[in-house]
């Protein structure tokens, strides 16, 4: 026997070594030389899957049931084949929303549900308890084999308690050293990777020793086994496979590799780059293959050598009984590595989810002293980690010794219960919060009944329940429900997953998700779809203070230092600083704030914090039992000059949830209009109430309205008024920030009823009624179109050298002063003070380099783009290389327009020459998706166009001689009908775009001259209606003369 406490001392030294490795990794990270950010370390970290279960349990299982240890590894190997599809999606989603645990992942998907997060967190705690117990049992058993019972101050101390105390303290100190908004722990990953190396070297060392040192190779062991099988049935059975159990274990291990808390943590949360997954996808199965290579050899050698003690401990007792103490010690360190890595990662992962999804919402409500919040959170996490280890210890004491592998299977079965909600949530849009809750709850109830109770039942009522069934009803026996005669694990797998999946599906189909859940679902399931790029912004300095407010809020939850680091990192990523942050960047910073908080405190608590920060919540007034007088449709924007409050009050008193943004005194508004609960925000610099928002804090105002709209299904928002808001911000806030705000409000208006209280003179369209729908606010409200033109012209002029810019500005200003620059300019409202202010501002920024644009200028869309093109022509004279589309690409996209739109002149028919109409269809699709109304006459089947080019089916008229129900079709020889379709469309559309594709087919069906005449007549129609038409021509389908005649009628367009 190795001297008393020697193994324990070596274990403590080893733990210190791990600490050193973690410190080193963290220091390297701070120095910017991460040792963890590489695919090999990532792959090794996944090998935390190989815990004491593998080290000891697999051998025990191989010795008792033969090859049935294998499916536990086959599931993960098969899971890796879906790694690039499933695991990458999990990583992408988690990174996108900064989800830091499997409970965050599931609760976020189902509308940031606190209930689901809490249930999953508690279930994970229960699920990992047997698993942690397994580790403690394994280490303490091997410790006792090596050193005998432990004594402290003359008293015998239980080995499990010693191990639990050591590992618990280690995990608590190690796993909660600081609060990290990203929950990434490089030190932890470095330690896990190192331990994976130690594990495999130790395992292979003992495997090689047993196979080639004691026996004469694998064949020799098998030969002897075959001999034994001839005389003993139990040996013969070791080569048999129970296919039922095999299948069940493969299935649950497949789910476990994805949803065990520790696997989710290392695989998803600690992943630094998606591409690392590719290497891990083959390195991890290879690692598993290597570590399992000698399992049968060691297990069966133990039997052949008649090694005394537990079968689970063969790996350590064989070398120990052979007198190789050093090898036994090394194996002990390998086993300790397997157990510590598992306990470390599992306790950190479960500790985090308990904090984020169970305790945090409670803490936020109870703890008012924000100074101590970060410290309280850290200490709570430490206690959680200790709780995980403590429960494991208690479980290990409560259950009699079982084969270790059986304990592990109980945990795997529990992890499988997360699969329907998690995988369903990732791929199935109809999966709902109620369905997930029903599936999870039922799955775990059945798991408790069919798996947990049978493994912990030892005597008393529970054992009676397991042996005879409740009330002696044998059909309800937990291990043999309905008498199907399945083995215990298959019985549990079958019933838990059947009930779980069924309820998840049926309840999901029967329930209707909230709008918030709907929005999250779409972003979750479609996470790989391309998102619009966040546009850059032009120069302009915003007022100070806002970033500090944001940082102060964050500091409450992650501490001052971390908050500062996070905000600095975000600012750096946005390419700005605290002093020079621009309007749009500030908006982006606020958007990141929610994600950062989700990473720190979980989705449920973030929801509470954001709702707390943004003080308005939808409420419903006591609804009158009459119909409302005014019927405003959802998703529309209305200008109501006179009776806006009357309309608003009418709707909120009839059950619509309202938010009133006003410059008036809220008490006065409430008194006058009689609604009680509806939130009112006053736009004012006054302090002292969360019902005041500074009119200059547009990001906060926008977030407030957005939060309100997103949390209500049936809402109305009144803004009184954009005009005052613009006046108050004039010269203080950059014009771009105002434009962004109004544009974002326009987008938000699609999800609510937005009422603007404006003077008729401030709106540039005719307002015939008391309630008027308005679209395109940027072109129709006050000076916004002038602001927009300034922003666009600046983006164009900024590409020029000072000299050229000066020349262009001079020439353009001459045209402006002679009133020949802008077409259709109107002067409809009086705003003299602001205009004076504008001139001062422009001169201050760009003396002689800025256009003299009057703020009273109002441009409609046509006039706006005409002016943009006019300026582009002047610029092109001075700089022939100037590319208008490229110069305005980002700006156009940021206001929801296609960059190509600016290059297309209304009233023009363009020809696009290309063999296949790919670019033509893509351009059409892009323009339509950015607001133009489209008509596509095409030879292609509409479904094909939608699938391949995203061309909406409703825009397509199919050139075919067959009349197919469900499609709009036109006979290719029926030119009058085609003309009629185009003419009708041009009459109805506000901003029409026509694509004519399939000229070759038209010519084949009739003749060239007829088609040419048709194109000519349509060209004229397009010119008269100020529309745009694109005609696709395949140059190979016409001879040179024909091509020339057709092309000469049209404007060439090169994409």
């Amino acid at each position: 026997m190795i001297g008393p406490n020697v193994a324990l001392i070596i274990m403590v030294i080893y733990l210190f070594l791990l600490f050193g490795i973690a410190q080193f990794a963290d220091r390297q990270k701070r120095l910017g030389k991460s040792i963890v950010t590489n695919p090999y370390v990532y792959a090794l970290s996944l090998c935390v899957y190989v815990s004491a279960w593998t080290f000891y349990g697999s051998i025990g299982r191989a010795a008792s049931t033969g090859l049935e240890f294998l499916p536990i590894y086959l599931g993960p190997v098969l899971a890796m084949t879906l790694g690039w599809i499933v695991i990458r999606k999990m990583i992408r989603v988690s990174k996108e929303y900064r989800l830091t645990s499997v409970s965050d992942f599931i609760s976020f998907r189902y509308g940031r549900s606190y209930a689901i997060g809490a249930v999953v967190a508690v279930l994970c705690l229960i699920m990992v308890t047997p698993y942690v117990a397994l580790q403690l049992i394994a280490i303490s058993t091997s410790l006792e084999i090596l050193s005998g019972p432990h004594r402290f101050l003359g008293y015998q101390v239980e080995s499990k308690l010693v191990v639990a105390l050591l590992l618990g303290a280690f995990a608590a100190i190690f796993g909660a050293r600081h609060l990290d908004p990203m929950e990434r722990h490089e030190g932890l990953v470095a330690v896990v990777a190192f331990e994976s190396l130690v594990k495999i070297v130790a395992f292979l060392a003992v495997g090689i020793y047993v196979t080639y040192g004691i026996f004469a190779g694998y064949g020799n062991i098998m030969d002897e086994m075959s001999q034994m099988a001839l005389v003993s049935q139990s040996y013969a059975d070791l080569l048999d496979v129970d296919y039922q159990t095999w299948f069940s274990l493969t299935l649950i291990s497949f789910f476990a590799i994805l949803f065990l808390p520790r696997q989710f943590h290392v695989m998803v949360v600690e992943n630094s780059e998606e591409k690392h997954l590719k290497k891990a996808m083959w390195l991890f199965p290879l690692y598993l293959l290597l570590i399992n290579l000698f399992v049968p050899a060691i297990a069966w050698s133990g039997l052949l050598l008649k090694t005394p003690g537990l079968e689970d401990a063969f790996i350590i007792s064989i070398p120990y009984n052979q007198g190789l103490d050093w090898l036994a010690l090394f194996v002990f360190i390998g086993g300790t590595s397997a157990a510590t890595a598992m306990i470390l990662v599992e306790s950190v992962a479960v500790g985090t989810m308990l904090l984020n999804d169970l305790e945090m919402p409670y803490l936020l409500n109870r703890i008012k002293d924000s100074r101590n919040l970060a410290k309280t959170l850290l200490n709570t996490r430490r206690l959680n980690i200790l709780l995980v280890v403590l429960l494991g210890y208690l479980y290990s004491r409560a259950v009699a010794y079982q084969i270790l592998a059986d304990i592990g299977i109980v945990s795997f079965l529990a992890a499988s219960q997360l699969a329907p909600a998690a995988l369903g949530g990732l791929y199935w849009k109809k999966g709902s919060r109620e369905g997930a809750m029903a599936g999870l709850a039922s799955g775990f109830l059945f798991w408790t009944y069919t798996a947990l109770i049978p493994t912990v039942a030892s005597g008393g009522m529970l054992e009676d329940l397991v042996q005879r069934g409740p009330f002696g009803i044998s059909l309800l026996k937990p291990t043999n429900l309905l008498g199907l005669d399945l083995d215990i694990w298959t019985n549990s797998v079958f019933w838990t997953l059947l009930v779980n999946c069924s309820l998840y599906t049926i309840v999901s189909l029967m329930s209707k998700p909230s709008p918030e859940e709907d929005a999250i679902t779409n972003s979750f399931v479609d996470v790989f779809q391309e998102k619009a790029e966040v546009p850059r912004v032009e120069k302009g300095i915003i007022r100070m203070g806002t970033v500090d407010e944001l940082e102060a809020t964050l500091a409450r939850y992650v501490g001052d230092l971390r908050a500062r680091q996070q905000v600095d990192a975000d600012l750096s990523r946005l390419g700005t600083t605290r002093d020079k942050i621009e309007a749009r960047q500030l908006l982006e910073l606020w958007r990141n704030f929610e994600k950062t908080l989700t990473g720190s405190v979980g989705p449920s608590a973030t929801r509470m914090i954001v709702e707390d920060q943004v003080p308005v919540k939808p409420v419903m007034e006591e609804a009158k039992a009459t119909l409302p007088t005014y019927d405003l449709e959802m998703g529309r924007i209305y200008v109501v000059p006179e009776k806006a409050y009357e309309v608003f009050t009418d709707l909120v008193l009839h059950g619509v949830e309202g938010l009133c943004i006003t410059h008036h005194n809220p008490d006065e508004v409430r008194r006058l209009w009689g609604f009680k609960e509806t939130p009112i925000i006053k736009l004012s610099d006054e302090k002292g109430s969360d019902r005041y928002i500074s009119p200059r804090n547009l990001p906060l105002l926008f977030m407030t309205i957005k939060s309100f709209v997103q949390t209500s299904k049936n809402s109305i928002v009144l803004i009184d008024s954009i005009e005052q808001l613009v006046e108050e911000n004039e010269g203080i806030v950059p014009e771009r920030e105002l434009l962004d705000f109004v544009y974002q409000m326009e987008l938000l208006g699609r999800k609510t009823r937005l009422i603007l209280v404006e003077r008729p003179e401030y709106i540039h369209i005719r307002l015939p009624d008391s309630i008027n729908e308005v679209k395109e606010l940027l072109f129709n409200v006050g000076p916004l179109s002038a602001y927009l033109f300034r922003v666009f012209s600046e983006a164009m002029l900024s590409r020029l050298s000072i000299e050229k810019r000066s020349e262009v500005v001079r020439e353009a200003n001459e045209l402006i002063s002679s009133r020949s620059f802008f077409e259709r300019a109107e002067r409809k409202y009086d705003n003299g003070s602001a205009a004076a202010c504008d001139a001062d501002m422009r001169d201050a920024v760009h003396p002689n380099l800025g256009l003299q644009i009057d703020s009273k200028l109002a441009l409609d869309r046509h006039g706006f783009f005409t002016a943009v093109r006019k300026l582009a022509r002047i610029i092109k004279k001075h700089d022939p290389a100037f590319d208008l589309t490229e110069a305005l690409s980002e700006l156009m996209r940021s206001y929801g327009r296609s960059p190509y739109e600016v290059a297309l002149l209304p009233g023009t028919t363009y020809v696009i020459e290309e063999e296949k109409p790919q670019k033509s269809l893509e351009l059409f699709s892009e323009l339509v998706s950015h607001g133009m109304e489209g008509l596509c006459i095409s030879r292609y089947n509409p479904e094909t166009l939608e699938e391949r080019y995203n061309v909406p089916m409703k825009t397509v008229v199919w050139l075919t001689q067959k009349s197919e129900p469900g499609y709009r079709t036109v006979d290719p020889t029926n030119f009058p009908r085609m003309s009629g379709i185009i003419s009708d469309f041009l009459d109805k559309a506000n901003y029409p775009l026509v694509l004519l594709e399939g000229l070759g087919y038209l010519i084949t069906q009739s003749n060239y001259e007829t088609v040419l005449r048709f194109v000519q007549s349509q060209r004229d129609e397009i010119a008269l209606k100020s529309a745009i038409m694109l005609v696709h021509i395949d140059p190979l389908s016409l001879d040179t003369k024909e091509l020339h005649r057709l092309a000469s009628e049209l404007e060439p367009l090169r994409i």
């Binding site: 084949t81 020799n220 083959w282 199965p285």
Partner: protein, 69 residues
């Protein structure tokens, strides 16, 4: 039929197929074919499982090598 290995490995459907194929090959009835047979002192079922395991790993390795772009 000029599809390269890279094209094949780059398609999601291929991996779903491989997953299902692997699942089938590593379960009943394929496993039952080996029975208790021994080949050169080794249980055939063990060799068979190890072979499929290795093949899957090789495919994943090729995916990493060929589709690293």
């Amino acid at each position: 039929m000029a599809l390269s290995l890279k094209d094949l490995l780059g398609q999601d459907e291929f991996w779903v197929f491989l997953f299902l194929l692997g699942w089938t090959l590593l379960n009943w009835p394929m496993l039952a074919m080996a029975g208790r047979s021994i080949f050169r002192g080794m249980p055939v079922v063990l060799l068979y499982v190890a072979f499929i395991w290795l093949m899957v790993t090789v495919m994943l390795y090729l995916f990493d090598r060929r589709c690293s772009g």
